[in-house]
Amino acid sequence: MSNNFIDFVFKFFTNLRDNNISLVYDGEINHNVIRAFTDLTNNELELKEEPNHIKKKVFNVMVESLQNISKHAECIDYDNQKYGRGILLISESDTSYNVTTGNVIKSDSIKRISENIDIINSKNKEELRELFKTRLSTGRLSEKGGAGLGFIDIAKKSGNKLEYHFEKISEAYYFFILNSQIAKKSNYGKN
């Protein structure tokens, strides 16, 4: 191993520790990956004695975020890949658990995604339920099995606004970062 590489690995480790990041992944997001990571995270929350409803919320947000990537992420460097690729970070602060995902999208998707999230973020709990019902009863399952309900569900279950950012990769592609916070037991209902 070169010194540079050792240095990188150690810094990577301390960075994760300092930021309370319990899980990092970069790669294909398929059904088995989603099952494994939700299981792993569920076990950790169990050790922290989080109640069922918090565990379920984190599970929920992870599933919807990851299924979004699985179905919609673009693959720049990988041809003929069945599932989307992306990154996943699970971290915690004093008050919340954070589910952060990142994936490549086409530039022309930015408008649609940001408009959709902005609409969702402008709504209160009751309005979100109405929006969910409307899309449930009028929307159709897309070819890829998406129902246009994922972001609404994340907002409903997390009880928080969705944070997002687009970082430019090239004219054609951007990196889409989505961050969802789920309040911890002790802070539940305070936001």
Partner: protein, 128 residues
């Protein structure tokens, strides 16, 4: 009619559809890898059932987790079941939720708002 008896996995629920004994039951988590592959046979079964339904149909739904793609599939299934109500026959959905799971309670109420089938909401004590 042939019975459907699907065993539970960690991403799909128990499904029992038994016309003869009047059992129509879904229980567990629903986040299948491919929603259509899982739900199409169930919807097809009800398409047959609706041609000659029982005088009374009670659907028991005790779901612990529903991903959004499944919630869409369940909506399609409920639309199908509305046809039984339209025939003037008794149909009811029993929606079970754990007493510590307000989100699942909400989902039941949301379905009731968009589906023309009577719902009964039943709270049960969560196991720990």
């Amino acid at each position: 009619m042939e019975k459907i008896n699907i065993k539970e996995t960690d991403t799909t629920p128990i499904v029992v559809l038994d016309k003869e004994n009047g059992i129509f039951k879904f229980e567990g988590k629903t986040l299948p890898e491919n929603v259509s592959v899982f739900y199409q046979p169930i919807i097809d079964w009800f398409t047959e059932y609706i041609k000659d339904p029982n005088p009374e149909t009670v659907i028991d739904l005790k779901l612990e987790y529903i991903n959004t793609a499944s919630s869409k599939a369940l909506f399609s299934l409920f639309l199908k079941l509305e046809e039984i109500a339209k025939k003037g026959l008794d149909i009811k959905i029993k929606w079970y939720y754990a007493d510590d799971d307000e989100d699942m309670k909400d989902v039941g109420e949301e379905y009731e708002d968009v589906i023309k089938i009577p719902f009964e909401h039943i709270e049960f004590e969560a196991e720990d």
